[in-house]
Subunit: 280 residues, 2 copies
């Protein structure tokens, strides 16, 4: 199988792609949208993209794409622990504290916000497309006083000095990645949970009817483990809802709830019923 | 009064500060957190910060700060229509289509994503702290092939050429700004609506009880115009809820609902009951 992931080599998505599918072929994409485009067009068998970070919240690019486009179902979810580390070119190991710029993905910068504010109050924070790009830039620019924030394996890959490990503010940081595919995946690991993810649009965009819609799950004892709203991008105050339910596929109560929501005027798009795995 | 806003001169917050409080003194802050810190410390009388954009959704920095810190109540909300425009240094008016870099606030870049992808597929998109910073940079660097995405008044202020007006993808784009203050504001305009905003944390972080909590509003006919979840930043899967209700202050039914949520084990933080105004 061909596994597409959010590249380049050395990203967290790369790490998940290699740990979850070690024997398969891997293809890097430069943006989340391109990776999702590729699986929708059947150019790859599986698309692995980040969906939610414990600190920064949902990856809006992924959620908005899933709302706006037709894609294969989610077949599995992988949870990866996240650490962010400050690293520098080895030729700069002695004067790294004089750095004037720090590069990272916006989430890397956000996760190390407290460390940077305390230790580098005047440093220029520059957002780049990935933590791996930041590490590669620092490795190829020894003449610049620039730091990168990236995972440990990026330091190994690009031969950088880690000057501060675990610089992220929160020690329980994790990111969820989803695997979208038209094929059922044969996974031998034990899942930690099973869930169903759906997107709900209310009739005439009236959030006041949300309570009625949620009742269709509640009175059937279908537990909701997540709900969040996102703007539909048409006008201020119009939202769709991203809902996770603690049930798997082929659940008669869930099927009945969906029919009822439809009768009440709601629109439901099921993104998939799937198992969740933890990557160690 | 002293009105603090997210600066520098020329931002959308600047525009709201000057239109809503034309006669008052204005102080620019470089980050949303610093502006909120200042009103919490009584260094300014009113703090004006962005809270939600119709396309990009909630401004997470603002919401997370309000959840984590004690601040004066929201006294008013202002809705500003947003247009984003491509501008260039006047010395570059003839060769602007050869630009290699475009600068803007991340929301400016996101709002013009479709225009850039279609017209400048290979341009380097660089995120800076504000649209005003982008405009100022372009005005002071005529030698660089750089564009700025910023509002029209930034082009006036920094004497730039607008080469493409309304480059944002969405024509109904608006941003909500909130005014936090310990003082009641004397506003003579007619409000378009009145609402109450609160943050709700569920008992033992179980989203499954959300339906019960929302019932306390529903069976009292208190309409909910917005609900969204945000991670509490402690662990994946733990959220608080940001809820807008269509009621004002001194509402007995609302008071009863609050008491009931508390009895059910929920924690509520009321951010304010306030009027909403539209800026033309």
């Amino acid at each position: 199988m061909n596994i597409g992931y959010l590249g380049p080599v050395g990203t967290f998505s790369y790490q998940v792609a290699h740990r979850a599918f070690p024997e398969e072929q891997h293809t890097a994409y430069t943006t989340i949208s391109e990776c999702l485009d590729a699986v929708a067009a059947n150019e790859i068998d599986v698309c692995l993209v980040p969906f939610e970070n414990a600190i920064e919240g949902t990856v809006n690019v992924t959620l908005d794409y899933l709302y706006q486009n037709d894609v294969p179902p989610i077949q599995a979810e992988y949870i990866l622990p996240i650490s962010q580390n400050i690293m520098v070119n080895k030729q700069r190991s002695s004067d790294w504290q004089e750095a004037t710029t720090v590069l990272s993905h916006p989430q890397g910068l956000a996760q190390c916000h407290d460390y940077l504010t305390k230790n580098f109050p005047h440093i220029k924070r520059e957002a780049v497309s990935s933590t791996a790009f930041a590490a590669e830039y620092v490795s190829t620019h020894p003449d610049e006083k620039t730091l990168a924030i990236a995972p440990l394996f990026a330091a190994e890959h690009y031969d950088l000095d880690v000057v501060r490990a675990n610089a992220q503010g929160n020690m329980h940081n994790e990111t969820r990645f989803i695997a979208l595919s038209n094929r059922k995946l044969a996974i031998t690991d034990d899942p930690i949970e099973t869930k169903t993810t759906l997107l709900l649009k209310l009739p005439d965009n009236d959030s006041g009817t949300l309570h009625t819609m949620l009742s269709t799950f509640a009175w059937r004892n279908i537990n909701m483990s997540k709900i969040e709203s996102r703007p539909t991008k048409t006008r201020l105050g119009q939202y769709f809802f991203h809902i996770d339910l603690d049930v798997g596929a082929d659940n008669r109560l869930l099927d009945n709830a969906m029919v009822e929501i439809s009768l009440l005027g709601g629109t439901v798009k099921v993104l998939g019923s799937y198992d969740v795995y933890k990557i160690k």
